[in-house]
Amino acid sequence: MEQKTKVHAEDGKQDLTITRQFDLPIDLVFKAYVEPEIVEQWMGTKVLKLENKKHGCYQFQTTDPKGNKYRFNGTIHEFEPNQKIIRTFEFENTPFGVQLEVLVFEKINDDTSKLNIHVIYESVEQRDQVLKMPFTQGINMAHNRLQEIVSNLKDHSINHPAAK
């Protein structure tokens, strides 16, 4: 079976592309990028700010089970509904630098659409570093997951509000 999400990264280059075909009309895919409540659900982050316009900016925050907060931010450079978003992305307080993202939304037919994301990094090294991240994260996530389950068990009796 062909993979729905593809990543193309050539050796020695400082960019990569992510492509995905959705069984959804184009406006719904675009909406998932624009409505804060929806972004929060599929990205698994809290949306602190999301201004969908040229010169607008956004800031997301994730919290791990230990309560550590991680913030991401960027500026929107181009915003064309159901067509295109150009924005920067920065993982705050990390050495990953700022990346430029060009998102192109393409209608295939009324129920199918395609998203093409071109990501440009500051250097080849930074791109490779970001690519490697899920490796180390994968290990952490499995660990965090376990911790989450354990702390949920503990918190149950005190009726602790679940952190996002």
Binding site: Q3, K4, T5, K6, V7, A9, D11, G12, I18, R20, F22, D23, L24, P25, L28, V29, K31, A32, I38, Q41, W42, M43, G44, L115, D128, V130, L131, K132, M133, P134, F135, Q137, G138
Partner: protein, 106 residues
């Protein structure tokens, strides 16, 4: 981590990639590999050395000759390198699709 980077530097070179393609089908001596390229023999030797150092190629002694062949395990490691990143986005987009399909029915 450093070793991994070396592997990527190794395959960044077009001649070295061509060598990997060559030996993928059969074990070859350095001379046989070099005869496929216009590049000087020492240059090819240098490429073979780099590929062997990062374990993409394995050396096999056969009589007086040294044969080079591909290390499939290492090659798979390169293919797997991008996979966790792809999987991360695939999971996110699957979620997006599920959420928006529900949204559609509303």
């Amino acid at each position: 981590m450093n070793l991994r980077r070396d592997v990527f530097q190794a395959i960044a070179d077009p001649t070295r990639r061509a060598i990997l393609v060559l030996v993928a089908s059969q074990s070859m001596t350095a001379g046989a590999i070099a005869s496929n390229f216009d590049t000087a023999r020492p240059t090819v030797s240098k490429h073979l050395q780099i590929l062997t150092e990062c374990e993409l190629l394995q050396q096999e002694q056969n009589g007086r000759e040294i044969y080079y062949n591909l290390n499939p395990k290492k090659m798979k490691e390169i293919a797997d390198f991008i996979e966790p990143f792809r999987k991360m986005w695939d999971d996110r987009f699957n979620k997006l699709e599920t959420i928006m399909k529900k949204n559609k029915r509303k």
